[in-house]
Symmetry: D2
Subunit: 314 residues, 4 copies
């Protein structure tokens, strides 16, 4: 349960008072505005605000005075064209703002995307809640044997149980230390009224990377799609993919034409090198190509065959 009753009240209040605007407005997105979509065990994604819609992309591409064409098919075609030819600036004309609650180790990956605006909850200023991430057993994967940056099979039995115990115990203990250093009891009252406790900016260092933080994150549509392409990818860590997947669903509500083009050209698309393209052309001409005469290393060959949905040994 990521939200307290007080927080729910505040959210309900925001949702309850629609006003009039002349701005481009997206009813499907208005419907879910401010709502918290749960992510992992304590996290969430909420849309706080947005600017623009599919029409704003079209309008910017044409630098027009009004809302652009009336024909939906023309707009969709233009958006597909822009996506296919990597025109990024019209997509930069839309903006979205989220409130996200997420484990710190996920936040550390996320923040590497620099072309966004962020305001994070400050643990120098405030005290963090006791909320930490414990994976579901089915996501408790072993280290991959073949990919140093990947996951292997799911841990079983004793080993899984032991890992969960360790994570829970160490997280609990970390918070006990944090609270004691802050001179706080469970209710947030001072343990010793004559002490002010260690500075918050220092005490926070005792918490582990699975503790939750939260932030406001604002990004334009172009950079959002770049983020989603990388973070919804199968090579991304599961815990950040959960967030990316929620945001992809929201994208579909917000800008359905752009979302369709994004799925086709980015999420489902693939990139071929010059060498890879030459191989495809030879194969299309009926030639049987094998790794040895492909010009690719074994690893590159395997990756190409995977892209084409073929066995590396065929």
């Amino acid at each position: 349960m990521p939200l307290t009753p007080e927080q729910r009240d505040e959210i309900d209040q925001q949702r309850s008072n629609p006003v009039q605007t002349r701005r481009a407005t997206v009813p499907a997105l208005e419907e879910i505005l401010y709502e918290a979509f749960p992510a992992l065990d304590h996290g969430f994604v909420r849309v706080i605000d947005y600017m623009g819609d599919d029409g704003a992309v079209v309008q910017a591409a044409r630098v027009s005075y009004g809302r652009g064409t009336k024909k939906v098919s023309e707009d969709a075609g233009l958006i597909r064209y822009l996506m296919r030819h990597w025109h990024s600036t019209p997509f930069e004309m839309c903006e979205i703002k989220y409130h996200v609650k997420l484990p710190i180790f996920v936040a550390r990956q996320w923040i590497r995307h620099r072309t966004a605006n962020v305001n994070e909850y400050s643990a120098r200023y405030s005290i963090l809640d006791k909320e930490f991430y414990i994976p579901e057993p089915e996501h408790l994967s072993a280290q991959s044997e073949i990919n140093r940056q990947g996951r292997g099979d799911v841990l079983q039995g004793d080993e899984a149980a032991r890992v969960l115990d360790l994570l829970r115990e160490d997280s609990e203990r970390a918070y006990r230390g944090y609270a004691e250093m802050l001179n706080q009891d469970d209710q947030g009252a001072a343990l010793d009224p004559n002490r002010s406790g260690l500075a918050r900016e220092l005490a926070r260092m005792n918490l582990s990377l699975n503790y939750y933080t939260q932030w406001y994150w604002k990004v334009d549509l172009h950079n959002l799609m770049h983020f989603l392409r990388l973070r919804a990818d199968s090579h991304a860590q599961y815990e950040i993919r959960v967030y990316a997947d929620i945001m992809i669903d929201i994208l579909q509500r917000w800008v359905p034409m752009t979302s369709e083009a994004f799925r086709d050209y980015r999420l489902g698309g693939t990139h071929l090198s010059a060498t890879g393209l030459a191989i495809v052309k030879r194969m299309l001409a009926g030639e049987i190509v094998v790794q040895g005469d492909s010009g690719l290393s074994k690893r590159e060959w395997r990756e190409l065959m995977e892209q084409l949905g073929r066995s590396p040994d065929a």
Copy 2:
């Protein structure tokens, strides 16, 4: 007259159909949404869209669930605090999008601000209108004798008349060449139906830098204020200041608390070096300081005295 009747119609249509939204909305800005504020002889500034308000700044600074405090005075105090201590991220949470028509030489200064999104009207793709900037006589200044990057007195009589003639004639002639190369007559019809004319992307090079272009320009509130501080400054070129001044008026409608803090801390504020501050302290202690024992060069001394509203020789 910067707008055609067709363009006015498109704008009126956008303005006429308010819809419902749950987003933060600013009535004073809604009032002027899409309206064209004239700038120079053919240019304008229009607000096309916006995201957020003063409350969104407060909300982001606190990473809160709802709309933040109810007390206006607390919000204004927090915004002043953020401005005073150069906290930029909460202001980045608001965004505004303009449609601007401006001479190319102004556009070239403007674009140097990189932290914004731009879609410019493409003269590779479309034909530019015959609209060029001619200064009002009172802005026809001579080169400054003391500041290599500044303006001196206003030109008078024959000299002024000759400059205006040259600007007008050369601009007219540039467009005649442009149209002829494009194989177009005054009505946009082909001069010679058997020719397709020079490529637009080449023909445009015949136009001079006072021709008007237009773009969509989107920026967050923090970077907007940075832009306005530099471009509304008395050292900025008059022609870009005209645009900055319009945008400062719009800022006041959009985010009045932020606007007040911006005027106090940025537009009207000043910066003292360590040496300058030491001089001020000596003067406040009753000492009479002269340039010779100030540690400043003559130019630096003059600039400091100007900041303090004092004669350099006092």
Copy 3:
């Protein structure tokens, strides 16, 4: 002749005094440091400074203490891997700085790449030289009939001659007006010693977009490759491609491994949409696919067949 004798002297002086450094150094790039590579009729590209080499990319990818592996083949393989999987940050660790002289209409396209640092020669402060771009006859293309943003056949005979005359005459005339407004004769002396002339920041607006400007442009290796991919593309305007091609040659000197990977994965590579990929898979499986049952529009089908080097009608 883009350089004066004085400028050549200054450049020779920079080239003549090698000193010692412990930094990563690239002899093949040192060889051409400061040299002006001619571009168009009066422009050039000069490398002024650089930081890092192929080894610095490897070193950053590994966050290592020393220079990384000794084996060249491992480094090349890692660089190919980084390029294939769109890892951008290791390439951001190298930086290059150019001095470029280019027509203003080219500079206007170039500056749209915001992730670079620029210092441009100031026509507010200084007087521009009388140097303007006139295309070679073989680049004087007609407007494309099928692509609104492209070039068609080369203009011939009278039409070509007339265009060149117009460009030359109008450019000459624009400078005459500029100089007269500035109160300057051909030697840079005052026409009328009692006048200071129009402010430079105003007079410059009389010049046309084919006049040359110059700037220092500094960019990291990742963003440089992004720029080169877009600007060396066949859809880019010829006049900017000239610059991109020179810079691609310089890239090969600077970071040969990265350059090879860039040519294979970016310049020569191609992108398939999900729909396009599905079609390729069907074709590889022996199926004959036609546009009608491809899921692609005619235009998209034509572009895909082009990518695969096949006739659209096959």
Copy 4:
């Protein structure tokens, strides 16, 4: 001791082989290139590479062909002018690259500066060393009573001892859990040879925020000074100030003229609001101003008096 003997060897090797270059070179910075300057208990700052010097700033400001003026005093004056008038682009023409080892909670503050390039050591890919930050007793400050984001007095006696014990024990325990989940003993060998251990990308979440990470961080001179101004400020957290102070010393070696101007205008300088400036002018004119008729809130008045080195009650 932040470095192993192997790491020292690698560093020594880099330092031992100077080569020839024609680039701008700074002997005082070459002297310390690659050296590790210790920070906190296990961290360090090393300069890995640099581009440009004070001359490059001057050269860029003038877009010159050679090295600019020969007179040192002119260059210093120009650099002071650029700094005074907030001209940022010439300073962007210099670049520096560091290798930094730092606690994760410091890295989280640092990374908020987005205008830099970063490659961080990957705990998805590699195993982190057992190195965590424990403050020196004199930096173990209590929470400030008056500033929610600050430090108060240093903790004493039992309370201090208890905090240090908690930090050490919890950090030790976190690493034990981490290693056990990874199935690793103290020597890095498998505890159970039949298990591959939890995926590294998951196990890392058990570590606390005082664990050390490391990265390559590259930034231009303008953005570096912006970072240093904020992070060397007395309001910055002590643990990041340690790094900023080291980097300020390095700045002095690298670009001494820029460094002097930076100290005068930024580090030692101060900013007055319009209201504050009006008060200073009144005081300079001999008037006695008190908070009540100043137009400032009590907090703002106190901050202004502090800037001017005066008692708030005077």
